[in-house]
């Protein structure tokens, strides 16, 4: 119960190049799955998986806990729209969040939202999570994840 752990992040949109997205998830047994579909640059979907060690999961938990994202709520965040969608799902310490919002182009958009403090926590956390995942995936598979 209390030590259940799961993280999933998605960012994407559906447009003239189809469904373009980046998504990753961590399972409690260490399985990291990474999917990246960008039809604009190339036509192929990248799908990779690898098991990470307990130490990686512990560091991930630390990053999430210290961000205090679990204290936030997406109720006043901009809703997903045509521009795109982001989702963050976390199960940690007996808590379960599943947030959804639009793509955030800049910090300005965060500041002018109805919940700048909460959205800022989200905005920086996802950048830290993406940095960790991109480093893990690129060092293991030697592929260059597409930044967006």
């Amino acid at each position: 119960m209390g030590d259940d752990f799961y993280v999933r992040y998605y960012i994407g949109h559906k447009g003239k190049f189809g469904h373009e997205f980046l998504e990753f998830e961590f399972h409690p047994d260490g399985k990291l799955r990474y999917a990246n579909n960008s039809n604009y640059k190339n036509d192929t979907m990248i799908r990779k998986e690898v098991y990470v060690t307990d130490a990686v999961l512990a560091e991930l938990k630390r990053i999430i806990s210290e961000s205090e994202i679990l204290k936030e709520d997406d109720e006043n965040w901009p809703v997903p729209d045509r521009v795109g969608r982001q989702e963050l799902e976390v199960v940690l310490g007996g808590e379960h969040i599943s947030f959804a919002t639009t793509k955030l182009g800049s910090l300005l958009q965060v500041q002018s939202s109805k919940d700048p403090e909460g959205l800022r926590v989200f905005y920086y956390l996802i950048q830290d999570l993406k940095a960790l995942v991109f480093s893990l995936v690129s060092s293991h598979f030697k592929i260059q994840p597409i930044q967006r």
């Binding site: 998605y10 047994d29 990686v56 969040i97 599943s98 293991h140 598979f141």
Partner: protein, 128 residues
Amino acid sequence: MQGRGFRDQTSLADRLEGGTFDRLPSAGSGPGPQKSVEGWVLLVTGVHEEAQEEDLHEAFAEFGDIKNIHLNLDRRSGFVKGYALIEYGSKEESQAAIDDLDGKELYAKPINVTWAFSTGPLQAKARR
């Protein structure tokens, strides 16, 4: 349970639940260190927020030729986030770095050094 994700479920059918995921081949049975495409990757945690890549490089170069270092920054503060990924070409070099540096101090702060990737699911959790 908090968030609109619970009210507005999304389909993972064309995402994480669709298709097959590439995985590198792994040798041996049971979880152990997993080889990456070009070498063996270590996770270093407890890295001081003001640590410099050169200093990490210097500490780890003693055990072999370092192929790659990722020292990510906290996007909010600009300081080091607290972890690094360091890659050697051989398992022996990586093991030597773990044996020597795990628990040692860097910038007067103890660091932990261990493998980043595993050949299979973590045992304790897999049984549940």
